[in-house]
């Protein structure tokens, strides 16, 4: 991995983002729904409406609107939210850390659960253990993330699990207001373990709902590639060396099985990020996914545009990180 590689990838991101901006802009203006209609009160006159249209630049043709939009984007101005009357960039950046932390917790849960399942399945190859792992992965995968979210809420309500919050991000009684929005990291850094515990507890269920389908995919792909690695000659050598099966699976096979899994996990992680839109809404979790739903309901065009671009940047960043991780995992790619 070299700096030229990184630079080229970053350069390639520019046309991608431009494409996303064009598609979202055109799409939002083609579909029915009027942001002004959501904004005005019942007694507004035609003159009021025309005035508001002019204020938000909606009286121009789509092409002209788009040129204005591009000009503002180039200056780093994402526009003003129609429903919240605030700068879009500020709104999004305020909520983005929430979603990033949620996704990272979900990712960690997915890797831990999926990895354990894969190792167990590969260790008990061809026996009841592998069949159990396959069955569990199939079952988990059959239920989408938002349904898991609803099921969790159902469980909490039915079994009166009062310790597990199903709404919000931090307890109201915890007097902690972070300066950054990364509440988990910040509370830990400031040794506010009460706040850390509260945020973590609020994050467990939405993160688990997002993590489960990804965990099942990780379990399947990783187990298959470990099993495939286990047929290689160097595994036979490891057996002749006298290593235990646990050591052979974890030390000899796992490392070689990681590359295909990381590729797929990276792609699937983008689906996990997409899943935050519904799951955050279900748990009233104050991230950008939740915000996106409200923005769509209010036809808040500038905010939707800003959010979609933010998701696009996230996806591009994830893919870049995945590509960079190859070089770390596969020594054969380090001198390319």
């Amino acid at each position: 991995m070299s700096w030229t590689f990184l630079f080229r990838r970053l350069l390639l991101a520019v046309p991608t983002l431009f494409g996303v901006a064009v598609v979202v802009f055109v799409l939002l203006r083609v579909v029915p729904g009027d942001p002004i209609a959501m904004l005005i009160g019942p007694g507004a006159t035609d003159a009021d409406i025309a005035e508001l249209r002019r204020l938000y630049g909606l009286d121009e043709s789509i092409a002209v609107q788009f040129l204005y939009y591009l000009r503002d984007l180039a200056a780093g101005d994402f526009g003003t939210s129609i429903s919240m009357r605030q700068d879009v960039m500020e709104l999004v950046l305020g909520r983005l850390p929430v979603t990033i932390e949620l996704c990272l917790v979900a990712m960690a849960m997915a890797i831990a659960l999926g990895g354990t399942m894969a190792l167990a399945g590969a260790y008990w190859r061809g026996r009841a253990g592998e069949a159990t792992v396959d069955g569990a992965a199939g079952f988990i995968l059959a239920i989408p993330d938002f349904l898991w979210a609803l099921l969790f809420i159902l469980f909490v309500v039915v079994f009166a699990l009062d310790g597990l919050p199903i709404s919000g991000r931090i307890g109201h009684d915890v007097g902690f207001r972070g300066a950054t929005g990364f509440l988990l990291i910040e509370s830990l850094a400031r040794l506010r373990f009460d706040a850390f515990g509260s945020v973590l507890l609020h994050t467990v269920l939405p993160a688990a709902a997002l993590a489960l389908p990804l965990a099942a995919i990780v379990a399947r792909v990783l187990k298959t590639s470990i099993n495939e690695a286990m047929t290689q000659d160097y595994i036979l050598m490891a057996r002749v060396k006298g290593f235990s099966r646990a050591r052979i699976v974890c030390r000899e096979a796992l490392r070689n099985a990681l590359v295909p899994t990381v590729t797929l996990t990276g792609v699937q992680f983008t689906f996990l990020v997409g899943g935050t839109v519904l799951v955050e809404k279900i748990f009233s979790y104050p991230g950008i996914g939740n915000m996106a739903i409200d923005a769509v309901i209010n036809r808040d065009l500038p905010l939707i545009q800003g959010l979609v671009l933010t998701f696009a940047v996230l996806f591009i960043a994830i893919n870049l990180l995945v590509d960079m991780s190859y070089a770390l995992l596969n020594p054969r790619m380090r001198h390319g």
Binding site: M237, V240, G242, F243, E252
Partner: protein
């Protein structure tokens, strides 16, 4: 079977070994009562064409035969102890200091994800209880002994960074690392080009002489056998056709098949000779004998 019996009590004694591959109701015999003895410090060639079962004998000795293969009769005595029905834990304890392997394909037998040094050191740490620095130092010594160029650098390199010949030297270093009493060499020069073959063969011979290990040398190449082996066993269809001192086998073979194998092997001393493939009539006769053997013995197990 002919030939003088081994001088000392054999370190490895394969007795009437039967092995078959079972699958989907079919039962394919691979070894039909194969026997051979290897004395301490003996290099014993196991010769035959592909499908003769020679590699399977080597794997059965190490206890790493593929799972559909079942040993249905006979025994493999390593230092007097039957190793055919060991538990996995007992088998692992025997590896390293008891037995080692020089594999056929050096390109695929080293783990691509680990450094060369770590792959030599791990056996030293497991079987000799060395700590990390001691194992590292010993790994460097071993690389020196197998004449790897720039051993300090190779220790830190990954398998893909060194040539096939160098990788086979590393695998030889691993095989000898814990001073095993027996090494199975499974066609160790087949995957290498001719000039490298000769060097690797000389290296195996030198390491063997230095360490005093016995070697079960599996090969299809009688030319290689003549260079390195004290005694030879000729295998066909999982049956031993002939066994004896290498010189006697090469110069005065008793079995037609051995004669045919010799005629099919290029000879440095008579480069003008035409090579003759093994006659089909002979192969057909041997196959018929193998089937008759199956009929007479029934299916084992």
């Amino acid at each position: 079977m002919t030939g003088a019996p081994p001088r000392d009590r054999p370190i490895l004694s394969v007795r009437d070994l039967h092995l078959a591959i079972a699958g989907r109701g079919r039962h394919t015999p691979i070894l039909r009562g194969a026997s051979l003895d290897i004395a301490p410090s003996e290099v014993h060639g196991l010769v035959g064409e592909s499908g003769a079962g020679k590699t399977m004998i080597g794997k059965a000795v190490l206890g790493i035969q593929p799972s559909p293969a079942r040993i249905s009769g006979g025994s493999v005595l390593f230092e007097g102890r039957d190793v055919t029905h060991l538990s996995e834990r007992e088998r692992r304890a025997l590896m390293g200091r008891g037995m080692g392997l020089i594999p056929q394909d050096p390109m695929t037998s080293l783990n691509p994800a680990h450094r060369i040094g770590a792959q030599i050191a791990d056996v030293l740490r497991l079987h000799l209880g060395m700590d990390r620095p001691a194992a590292g130092a010993r790994a460097l010594e071993l690389l020196n002994e197998v004449h790897v160029r720039a051993p300090e650098r190779v220790l830190r390199q990954y398998p893909h960074e060194i040539s096939g010949g160098m990788r086979q030297r590393v695998l030889i270093a691993i095989a000898f690392a814990c001073r095993p009493r027996l090494i199975v060499a499974d066609e160790p020069t087949t995957a290498l080009d001719v000039t490298v073959q000769r060097q690797v063969l000389a290296l195996i011979k030198r390491m063997q002489a230095q360490e005093g290990a016995s070697i079960l040398f599996v090969t299809h190449d009688l030319g290689v056998v003549a260079k390195i082996c004290d005694r030879v066993t000729v295998l066909h269809g999982g049956r031993v056709l002939e066994t004896g001192e290498t010189r006697r086998i090469v110069e005065a073979p008793e079995h037609d098949y051995t004669r045919a194998l010799i005629a099919a092997t290029p000879r440095h001393d008579r480069p003008g000779d035409l090579l003759r493939p093994v006659p089909e009539a002979l192969t057909a006769r041997l196959n018929a004998e193998a089937l008759a053997y199956d009929a007479a013995h029934g299916s084992h197990g």
